[in-house]
C-alpha cells in the first residue's frame, strides 16, 4: 500500500533524539560535515580579521619614520591583502558553505571522505597561520602571487620569511584540494535515491564543476610553488629574467590571474545564486539542465586561462587576460537572463539575500562596461600593469563572489544556525559591501584611465589622490559590512528564542527537508527525488487533487 504524503518537515521528529554520547563537544576530532563547514566559515572570518590586524602591524612598523609608506612595505601590504582576501577568506568561505550544504542538498547527510575533509581543514588552518606569521616575522620577497612577473631572485638564497610564505601557500592549497576532492566524490557517489546527476541542485553542481577544475589547476599551482621554492631557496635562475620561457611558466603556474582558479569562485557563486533565485521565486529554474550546462561551460572556459602563448604579455587582453576566458561572459550573461526569467515566471517573494544577487549583477555589468572602456583607452594588462586591473579584480573577480557569499549566508542562516539573521542588518551589510566594492572598483578603473600603474607609490597627482581616497573609503565600507555581518551573526544565533522554521522559504531542495539546524546524521528520512526541485514536486503532488488521500 502507499503512504500518505505530507510535508517532510512535519514528519521529521521535531524533538531532538537523544544525542549519541560520542558526539562530545570536541570540535578538534569532528568528522561531521556540518561542523567542518562551520569551522571553514569561522576560520575564514578569523583570517579576514587577523589579516586586517596584521596589515595594521606591518603598516605601523614602517609608518612611524615618515607618513608615507615605503615601496617595499606597500608591496607587502598589497600582497598580504590580496592573498589573504582571495585565498584565506573567500575561497575558504565558499568551501565552508559547500561542505555544510552540499551533503544536505543531495540528500546524503554526510561527506564521502569526511576525515579527508577534516585533514584538509586543519592543514588550511595551519597554513593560514604560517601565512600571517611569514608577513609579521620578516620581509616577504615581492608582491606575491598577484604579480604577473616572476619574483625577484635573492642572491645566496631567500630568507626564512619568504620560504615560510611559499610553504604556507602550498599548505593552504593542499587543504583546499583535499576538501574539494571530498566534495567531488560526495556529489558523484552519495546522491540519494532518484537524484540523478542532472537533478543535482545548482550549488552542488557548481561545487562539482569548480572542484573538478580546481583539482586540476591547484596541483599546477603547487608545482609552480615547488619550482619557486627551490629557485628562491638556492638562488637558482629558473625565474630569472634571462631565462627564456620563465614568464610563461610563472604566469601559468603561480600568477593568480593566469590560472583557472580566478573563475572558480565565480562558478560557485553563480551556482549558489541560482539556488537563491529559484528558492525565492518559488519555482525551479526555467531550464535546470541548461543552467547546469552553462556552469559546466564556465568551467571549461576557465581552463582557457592556460591557452595564452609563451609570449603571454602579447596574448593577454586586458579585461579577462585572455581571449578564451573572455568568453566566460557569455554563459554568465545567459545565466543572469535565466534568473530574470525564473523570477518573472515564478511568484517571487522578497528576501534580503536577493539584494546581494542584484548587487553582483550590477558589479558584473560595470565590469563589462569597463572592459569596453579599457579597449578604448588602450589600458595595458601585464607589462607595467595598469591600476585598471585592481578595478577589474574588485568588480569582477572577487566582488560578486563576495557579495553572493554574504547573500548565501543570509539565505541559509536559518538552516545552518537555526536562527534567521536580521533583514535590516542584511540590508546594511549589502549597502556597505556593495557600495564599498563599487567605489573601490570604479576608483581604480578611473585611475587606470588616468594612466596610473598598479601599485603606484610615486608621482600621484591631486586628481589621482582623490580617487585613491575614494578607493580607501570603499575599503572601509567593505570592512564595515563584514563587521556588521559578524555582529549580526553572533547576536542572532545566540538568541534563545526566535528559532527558525525547518523550511522558512517553502524551499525546493532537500536541505529544507530536515530540521534547522540538522541533526548530526543529517536526515531521518529523505523524500524520493523525482525532479530537480524535489520539495516543489512533493508539494505539488500533495496539493494536486487525487495526489493524496
Amino acid at each position: 500500500m502507499t503512504v500518505l504524503q505530507e510535508r517532510p518537515t512535519v514528519e521529521t521528529p521535531a524533538a531532538p533524539a537523544s544525542p549519541a554520547p560520542s558526539y562530545a563537544d570536541v570540535w578538534l576530532d569532528t568528522a561531521d560535515h556540518k561542523r567542518l563547514g562551520l569551522l571553514f566559515i569561522y576560520a575564514s572570518f578569523l583570517f579576514v580579521v587577523a589579516s586586517g590586524v596584521a596589515a595594521l602591524v606591518v603598516g605601523a612598523k614602517q609608518a612611524s619614520p615618515g607618513l608615507n609608506l615605503s615601496g617595499t612595505t606597500f608591496a607587502r601590504l598589497y600582497g598580504l591583502h590580496t592573498q589573504s582576501g582571495v585565498l584565506l577568506f573567500l575561497t575558504a568561505l565558499w568551501i565552508g558553505l559547500a561542505t555544510y550544504l552540499v551533503p544536505l542538498q543531495i540528500g546524503a547527510g554526510r561527506l564521502a571522505l569526511p576525515r579527508l575533509s577534516a585533514f584538509g581543514f586543519w592543514i588550511y588552518l595551519f597554513g593560514g597561520v604560517c601565512f600571517l606569521v611569514s608577513y609579521l616575522a620578516g620581509q616577504v620577497n615581492g608582491l606575491g602571487i598577484t604579480q604577473s612577473t616572476p619574483l625577484a631572485m635573492v642572491p645566496g638564497g631567500a630568507d626564512t620569511a619568504t620560504m615560510l610564505w611559499i610553504v604556507s601557500l602550498a599548505m593552504v592549497s593542499v587543504g583546499f584540494l583535499l576538501a574539494s576532492a571530498s566534495l567531488v566524490v560526495t556529489v558523484a557517489g552519495l546522491r540519494t535515491d532518484g537524484m540523478t546527476l542532472l537533478r543535482v541542485p545548482a550549488f552542488s553542481w557548481a561545487t562539482l564543476v569548480a572542484g573538478a577544475v580546481g583539482l586540476l589547476s591547484t596541483p599546477v599551482f603547487l608545482a609552480g610553488l615547488l619550482l619557486l621554492g627551490l629557485d628562491q631557496r638556492f638562488g637558482g635562475s629558473l625565474f630569472a629574467p634571462s631565462t627564456n620561457g620563465s614568464l610563461a611558466i610563472w604566469q601559468r603556474s603561480v600568477w593568480l590571474y593566469g590560472r583557472p582558479d580566478v573563475y572558480l569562485l565565480t562558478i560557485v557563486a553563480v551556482g549558489a545564486a541560482s539556488d537563491l533565485v529559484a528558492t525565492h521565486a518559488h519555482r525551479p529554474l526555467l531550464e535546470h539542465r541548461a543552467a547546469l550546462g552553462l556552469l559546466t561551460l564556465m568551467g571549461v572556459l576557465s581552463l582557457g586561462a592556460w591557452t595564452g602563448g609563451p609570449s603571454v604579455s602579447q596574448a593577454v587582453i586586458v579585461p579577462t587576460f585572455n581571449v578564451v576566458t573572455a568568453a566566460v561572459a557569455v554563459p554568465l550573461g545567459l545565466t543572469v537572463l535565466m534568473w530574470l526569467g525564473t523570477a518573472a515566471r515564478g511568484e517571487p517573494g522578497f528576501h534580503v539575500s536577493l539584494l546581494f544577487v542584484l548587487g553582483a549583477i550590477g558589479l558584473w555589468i560595470s565590469g563589462a562596461a569597463n572592459a569596453v572602456g579599457a579597449a578604448l583607452h588602450h589600458v595595458n594588462g601585464v607589462s607595467g600593469a595598469s591600476a585598471w586591473i585592481a578595478g577589474n579584480v574588485h568588480t569582477v573577480v572577487v566582488g560578486p563572489p563576495t557579495l553572493i557569499a554574504f547573500g548565501a549566508i543570509y539565505h541559509w542562516a536559518p538552516k545552518i544556525w537555526g536562527h534567521p539573521l536580521r533583514a535590516a542588518a542584511g540590508g546594511l551589510v549589502f549597502l556597505a559591501s556593495f557600495a564599498g566594492l563599487a567605489a573601490t572598483g570604479l576608483a581604480y578603473y578611473f585611475l587606470g584611465y588616468n594612466g596610473a600603474p598598479l601599485g603606484q607609490t610615486t608621482g600621484i597627482t591631486s586628481y589621482q589622490k582623490g580617487l585613491y581616497a575614494v578607493a580607501e573609503v570603499g575599503g572601509v565600507l567593505l570592512v564595515i559590512g563584514v563587521l556588521v555581518l559578524l555582529v549580526d551573526l553572533v547576536t542572532s544565533t545566540s538568541r534563545g528564542a526566535d528559532a527558525a522554521a525547518d523550511d522558512p522559504y517553502r524551499g525546493l531542495t532537500l536541505e529544507w527537508a530536515t530540521t534547522s539546524p540538522p541533526p548530526r546524521w543529517g536526515f531521518d528520512s529523505v523524500p524520493e527525488v523525482r525532479s530537480e526541485a524535489p520539495l516543489y514536486t512533493l508539494r505539488q503532488a500533495t496539493s494536486a487533487p487525487g495526489g493524496t488521500q
Binding site: Q5, G109, L111, R115, F126, G156, L164, G522, S525
Partner: protein, 340 residues
C-alpha cells in the same frame, strides 16, 4: 558502465584536448600543449574512474501519468561518520614538516616522526572500525603484537624523545639558564604528578590531550633549540689566536686573514645576514683551496681547518658574493720550519 558523471568528465577532457591542439597550432608553444594535454589525460582518467565506480543514477522510470506517490526513504544513522583525532594530528605533522622546510631541518624530522605516529593511529582506528574487528580479534592483536612489542617500543621512544629534546634545550641555553630550566622542569613534573595522583578521576580523554600537548611542547622546544645551535663551551686555542669574521650587509668585517701554515686554525664566522654566506680560500688565479660550510644568518660557525699550503698571499671570499665579499688571505710559514 558509462554514467553521467563519466560522460561529463570525458567531455571536459575532449574540451581540454581541443584547447591543447589549438595552442600547439596557434602558437609555437610545446609547454602549453603539454600542460593542457596532461590536464586532458587526467580528466579522462577521472572519467574512467567514475565510469568504473559503480556510481549509478538510481532513479526508476515511471510511465507518464501513473507515478506512484513519492516515498520517504529512511536515511538511517548507521553511516554517520565517527569522530577521529587523527586528521588533526596528521595535519599537525604536515605543518611541522612544512615549517621545517622553511625554517630549519630539525623540525622536518620531528614532523616526519609525528606523521608516522599519526598514520599509525589513523590506521588503527580504521582497523577497529572494520566490520571484521571483533573482541577476539582485539585480544589476539594485543596479545601477539601490542604487549610484547608495542609497549616497550613506545616506552623506549618516549624516553628517547624526552632525553634528546630536553638535552637540546639545556645545551642551547646559557649555563645559568640551563640550571634554572632544569629546576623548573623538575618542579613542574613533580607538581603535575602530584596533581594527577590527587585527582584519579580525571577524564581519560583530557589526560591524553594533556600528555600529548606536553610531548609536543618538549619536542618543539628541543627542535627549536637544536636549530639555534649550542652554546659554545671552552675551546682550546691553537695557532695565532681565534680569528673572527663577521658578514653583514653583504660584506666581510675584515679585509685580511692571517694564518700559520700547517697549524690547526679556528675561524669563527658570524653571519648577520638572512642569506647564505661562507668563507672560501682561492689562489690569486682562482684555484680553490678550501671552502667553509655556507650558513644562513643569524648563525655562527667555527671552521676548524689546517691550512697546509705554501706560505704566501691568497684571497678569501664568499662563494655566493664573490665580487662584493673578498679579502686577502695570508699564510705565514710555521715558526722553525726554515722557510723564508
Amino acid at each position: 558502465m558509462i554514467n553521467t558523471a563519466a560522460k561529463i568528465e570525458l567531455g571536459l577532457a575532449a574540451a581540454a584536448l581541443i584547447m591543447a591542439i589549438g595552442v600547439a597550432v596557434a602558437f609555437d608553444d610545446p609547454g602549453g600543449f603539454v600542460l593542457l594535454f596532461g590536464v586532458c589525460i587526467a580528466m579522462a582518467l577521472c572519467g574512467l574512474a567514475l565510469a568504473g565506480s559503480g556510481f549509478t543514477d538510481r532513479a526508476p522510470r515511471y510511465p507518464a501519468g501513473a507515478e506512484p506517490p513519492i516515498q520517504m526513504v529512511s536515511a538511517g544513522r548507521a553511516g554517520t561518520p565517527k569522530a577521529s583525532p587523527w586528521p588533526l594530528a596528521g595535519a599537525l605533522a604536515l605543518g611541522l614538516v612544512g615549517l621545517g622546510v622553511a625554517v630549519g631541518h630539525a623540525l622536518v624530522i620531528v614532523g616526519v616522526i609525528c606523521g608516522i605516529l599519526a598514520a599509525a593511529g589513523w590506521l588503527s582506528q580504521a582497523w577497529q572500525e572494520d566490520p571484521t574487528f571483533t573482541a577476539s580479534e582485539r585480544s589476539r592483536i594485543s596479545e601477539r603484537l601490542l604487549s610484547p612489542v608495542g609497549l616497550p617500543l613506545m616506552a623506549l621512544s618516549l624516553i628517547a624523545i624526552i632525553v634528546i629534546s630536553v638535552s637540546r634545550v639545556l645545551l642551547a641555553l646559557p649555563r645559568t639558564g640551563s640550571i634554572v630550566v632544569a629546576f623548573v622542569l623538575a618542579v613542574g613534573v613533580l607538581i603535575a604528578f602530584f596533581a594527577l595522583s590527587t585527582r584519579p578521576n580525571l577524564a581519560r580523554r583530557s589526560l591524553v590531550f594533556l600528555s600529548g600537548f606536553a610531548v609536543v611542547a618538549i619536542v618543539s622546544a628541543g627542535s627549536v633549540s637544536a636549530a639555534n645551535g649550542y652554546r659554545t663551551f671552552e675551546h682550546h686555542e691553537t695557532g695565532p689566536g681565534p680569528i673572527t669574521v663577521v658578514a653583514h650587509n653583504i660584506s666581510f668585517s675584515r679585509k685580511t686573514i692571517t694564518v700559520v701554515a700547517g697549524q690547526d686554525t679556528t675561524i669563527t664566522f658570524d653571519n648577520l645576514d638572512p642569506i647564505y654566506h661562507n668563507v672560501a680560500v682561492y689562489s690569486s688565479s682562482g684555484q680553490p683551496f678550501w671552502a667553509g660550510e655556507p650558513i644562513k644568518g643569524h648563525r655562527k660557525i667555527n671552521y676548524l681547518h689546517s691550512f697546509n699550503m705554501a706560505p704566501g698571499t691568497y684571497t678569501f671570499r664568499c662563494d655566493f658574493h664573490p665580487t662584493s665579499m673578498v679579502g686577502t688571505f695570508v699564510v705565514q710559514a710555521a715558526p722553525g720550519s726554515g722557510a723564508p
